[in-house]
Amino acid sequence: MQYLELVHNLTLLVALSLVSGFLHDRWGGRRGGCALQGLLFGAVSVLGMQRAMPVTSGIFLDGRSVMLSLGALFFGPQAAGVALAMVLPVRIWMGGQGALAGCLVSILSGALGLLFRAWQDPRQHPPRGRRLLLLGLLVHGAMGAVFVCVLSMKLFQVALLPLVTLYPAATVLAGKVLSDTMQRSHSEQQLRLKNEALVRSHEEMDRLIYNTSHDLRAPLRATLGLLELQEDPETTAEERGENHRLMRASLERCDRIIRDILEFSRSSRCSSRPERVYVEALVQECLENLRPIPEASRVHFEVDVPLDLSILIDQPCLRSILQSLLTNAVQFQRADEPRPRVSIRASEVQGQMELQVEDNGEGIPAPMQEEVFRMFYRGSHRSQGSGLGLYFARQMAQRLGGQVNLESSQGVGSTFTLRLPLTPEVG
């Protein structure tokens, strides 16, 4: 019947696992969540000590070792510390010849739990049965050793049967309950995150559709208005010629938007085909592409990029980002600037490529600096583009694990800084 007390103690343990799982669900991610678990594990251990299986006067067996080892394994040093701070004074206060051994076993249980946690974090790898069994055997092997060294061989023999049967089994059972709860909680959190990402992507898609439809419709509706004007008998021949020119410009704008969107759609899927790209060569290629832009002929370009600077990346994607930054720098030069200049610098900074495009153009006032990365944003009437270039540049950089930022002061110029990992990030 002595064993009944121990079984009762270990039943407490399974109940503890359920309450602990509940706490993990509710307060797992919050500050103080681990301390709360420590309080629970400590309190149940103390409770168990009141209904322990007596071995002899001042010596008893209870579920403390299992509770403390599992508490430390699942909830870390903070929980282990809190639980031990509750258990040790109570055990000392209860006294008897087993007080020292009891305290040692408690400390060893917590320490072994922490050791297992350091070996494999249960938040990333919820422990399976075998690992839990190993923990149970080690903790109670250590408990047996304490019995032999601090108490006596005779007492060890009394405790041997539960130490090799009940205790490891209870460790596995309670550990599995905790492990399953954590795993479920982790999966639910992942699901929640994925759901939020999906909602965000839907909203983004809605915005893209409304923005695209507006920006495609605007030049089409302008063309329609001009056509109506062409059909008006009062329109003069000279006006007809001008209307014709405006219609062409409107349609070309439509075409530009469609091409930009297609370019992005193609580029946005491309991060899976990285290749070695020499940055200087790519910069020169992008500068060549600027030739058709009338403003580019006035601009003096300074390139300061080490010839051997290379990056493992999808080339069309990087080219597209660079081209957007350079086109932007060229288009927003001040008409009254006698020496329009664009400097391109690149270097390796802490495992990343840092590329800067600096101009002495119009500059962007502080409140507008984040706005320029908005879809279809056009900062001034001189913006002849689709309003997508910088938006796509930032989106693509983010997909490649990097970022595009802007520093600017109005009337002085702007510096766009592109940072990208030198090798693609895994996952």
């Binding site: 409304y210 439809s213 507006h214 920006d215 419709r217 605007a218 030049p219 089409l220 509706r221 302008a222 329609l224 208005g225 001009l226 109506e228 004007l229 405006l246 409107s250 279809f376 944003y377 056009r378 900062g379 001034s380 009437h381 913006s383």
Partner: protein, 135 residues
């Protein structure tokens, strides 16, 4: 005569609007602005110097610098009782944008681009801002 502000970042729509108002007749002067900021600054300047304000604003929504919704918010900076009526002329199909614009007490209607002459006339005629269509 009804004085009008045309506010649109696309010079084609400014030209089309000017021609249409010319054909409808009874609108003068017609002032054009390429964004909401330029139009609002002019309104505030006129208000401060005691000049008369336009009776009608034909306003685009999506414009650089200050968009149409920003312009509508900016109207709060004018002394109350200015009586400016705003007709939104936009190619946006976004219901949120439409609802936001129509929530402004100054906005009479939300019309699709390009402006339809009869549609505009039938909207403005009951308020005495132009002759009824077909007259």
């Amino acid at each position: 005569m009804t004085s009008v502000f045309l506010v649109d970042d696309d010079p084609v729509f400014l030209m089309l609007g000017r021609k249409m108002l010319g054909k409808l007749g009874g609108f003068a002067p017609i002032d054009s602005f390429l964004d909401g900021r330029l139009a609002l600054d002019e309104l505030l300047r006129r208000s401060r110097s005691g000049q008369s304000l336009p009776a009608l604003v034909l306003l685009d929504i999506r414009m650089p610098v200050l968009d149409g919704l920003g312009f509508l918010e900016g109207l709060a900076g004018l002394p109350p009782g200015h009586g400016i009526r705003v007709v939104i002329v936009s190619s946006s199909l976004d219901p949120t944008e439409r609802a936001q614009a129509l929530a402004s007490p100054h906005v009479m209607a939300f019309l699709d681009k390009p402006l339809d002459r009869d549609r505009l006339a039938s909207l403005l005629a009951p308020m005495g801002l132009c002759r009824p269509p077909g007259t």
